[in-house]
């Protein structure tokens, strides 16, 4: 059954998928709990513009996506702080900027091809060794950063004003977190594609909220459900010859629906996000 693991490209896909399955809930749980789910969409659209820029200029697309994603993180904070624009509006503006830049660059480079397709919807065969290294390095950095800032991020997610009053450097922690989010989304895009990456940030966490009896166990469930989604999604993609973005996210959605049904039966609250 696991004969596909003999192929080097599938090994890379599973390794990259495993890293991404850990990264996405790590970032996603704070985004979901702070009601900032749209941030995922923002970075994925900007990352897509980065990919288009890479293709247009003939540089490494994932590298360009990372650079542009990080740049947009800085712009987001500047818009929010310097120009005092509401977060959701700043996010909407950057989504527009990202997607319009992507469309222009794709048109200019006449790059509506398989390569771009793999960045839009993910690909099991397109993940190169270089991609895997980059995903691993970024993954290690993000996990380390979030590990160090875990108690601060927890406090801020629960009560931002309280955290500020308690003497936590909220602006600094927020800036570092947004940076980690931008990196995560840029590399996760390689596996699930730009259009679906934000789903992997939020759906496993939304499902885990039905099971978690504490923050720690909710995070544990998020990892477990994200890993299950990624592994089953990659297998479905391999056997049915699909783009993995669709199958991975569809698996996570099935898990979400099942968790809601389970939650309803066991009397857990349903009002996710309200």
């Amino acid at each position: 059954m696991f004969d596909f693991l003999h192929y080097a490209f599938m090994q890379r896909a599973f390794l990259a998928g495993t890293i991404v399955a850990f990264l996405c809930p790590t970032i996603g749980i704070y985004l979901v709990l702070r009601r900032l789910s749209m941030v995922g969409n923002m970075f994925s659209h900007v990352s897509l513009a980065g990919v288009a820029l890479g293709i247009f200029t003939g540089t490494y697309p994932l590298g360009a996506a990372l650079a542009l994603s990080v740049a947009s993180a800085v712009i987001l904070e500047a818009l929010r702080r310097t120009y005092r624009i509401f977060s959701d509006l700043a996010i909407a503006i950057l989504i527009s900027a990202g997607i319009s830049l992507a469309v222009i660059l794709i048109s200019l480079s006449r790059a509506l091809n398989t390569d771009l397709f793999s960045y839009l919807f993910g690909s099991v065969i397109a993940i190169s060794e270089q991609d895997l290294y980059l995903i691993a390095v970024v993954g290690l950095f993000v996990m380390l950063l979030v590990f160090v800032l875990q108690k601060e991020l927890f406090y801020i997610a629960f009560d931002e004003a309280g955290a500020r009053a308690a003497g936590i450097r909220v602006d600094l922690v927020n800036m570092l977190f947004v940076l980690a989010a931008s990196l995560t989304i840029a590399v996760a895009m390689r596996v699930v594609g730009a259009l679906l990456v934000s789903s992997l940030l939020t759906v496993p966490v939304a499902a885990a909220l039905q099971f978690g009896k504490s923050f720690r166990t909710t995070l544990f469930w998020s990892y477990l459900l994200a890993l299950t989604s990624v592994f089953s999604g990659l297998m479905v993609a391999y056997y049915c010859n699909l783009a993995p973005g669709g199958s991975i996210v569809m698996c996570s959605l099935i898990i979400f629906v099942l968790s809601i049904i389970w939650g309803r039966r066991s009397g857990r609250k349903q009002d996710v996000g309200t």
Partner: protein, 252 residues
């Protein structure tokens, strides 16, 4: 050591063009239990936010523990429970224990993680506020009064010298309120914690505090509850306000 806990010197604050706080000066001494009262929109919460550094005054100076410097060291000596503390995301997946443990975040600093000592401290603090049996419950499953105690515990766990509470009794039934005041009194008497608390329930709070401060943009009265009542301050406040000399109340 007997230096004042809070010294406010001529604090002014504006929201846009609107004057919210007009020349507020007051001093809170160690072991005081100060009730900050005033009508809605009188600037009570704003004043607390200025004290804890969430807002900056347009003019004037805040001195905490005798120091004009607002640094982490000072802030960890203060426990603050905001007015909207219990309006958090009710499905937030965190246990009472996790919430209270987060009160040690600033004291631990960036690279230290809570260990056995900290967990023990959390249990002791939960015992102190009487909800140790709820430590494994999700915070959203608690009643309003229990949540309020959890937030007090989060503020207390870092062993503050000053506890600042913004309308903590709103939405809590009479019995729970009474227990709550008893808890505050025991904290003050046994642990020597200084308390500053906003309330709009004048009759209830004046039975428990050592000092009352009445503000409505300006500080109109600062003294003991018995002075407040014997002085017929309410009558004066709602009569011709001009009788109270500006700034004259600060050294009562």
């Amino acid at each position: 050591m007997n230096q004042p806990i809070i010294q406010l010197e001529h604090i002014y604050f504006y929201y846009g063009q609107q004057l919210i706080l007009d020349d507020i000066s007051l001093t809170v001494n160690p072991c005081d239990f100060v009730g900050l009262i005033g009508p809605n929109g009188s600037g009570k919460s704003t004043l607390l936010k200025i004290i804890v550094g969430l807002l900056q005054p347009a003019r004037g100076r805040v001195r905490l523990f005798g120091s004009g410097q607002r640094n982490i060291g000072n802030l960890t000596r203060i426990g603050y429970v905001a007015q909207n503390a219990i309006s958090f995301n009710q499905i937030f997946p965190a246990t009472v224990e996790e919430i209270v443990l987060s009160g040690l975040t600033a004291a631990l600093g960036y690279f230290r993680r809570p260990g056995k000592t900290e967990r023990k401290l959390v249990q002791q603090t939960l015992q102190q506020v009487g909800i140790e049996h709820l430590s494994k419950c999700l915070i959203g499953e608690l009643s309003g009064g229990q949540q309020q105690r959890a937030f007090i515990a989060r503020a207390l766990v870092a062993k503050p010298e000053l506890l600042i509470l913004d309308e903590p009794t709103v939405g809590i039934d009479a019995q729970a309120q009474e227990n709550f005041y008893r808890l505050l009194s025991s904290l003050r008497e046994q642990k020597g914690i200084t308390l500053l608390m906003v309330s709009h329930d004048l009759s209830n709070i004046s039975n428990h505090v050592t000092k009352l401060a009445y503000i409505n943009k300006r500080l109109y009265f600062y003294g003991t509850p018995s002075e407040f009542w014997s002085d017929n301050t309410m009558g004066k406040l709602y009569g011709p306000v001009a009788q109270v000399p500006k700034g004259g109340a600060e050294n009562v």
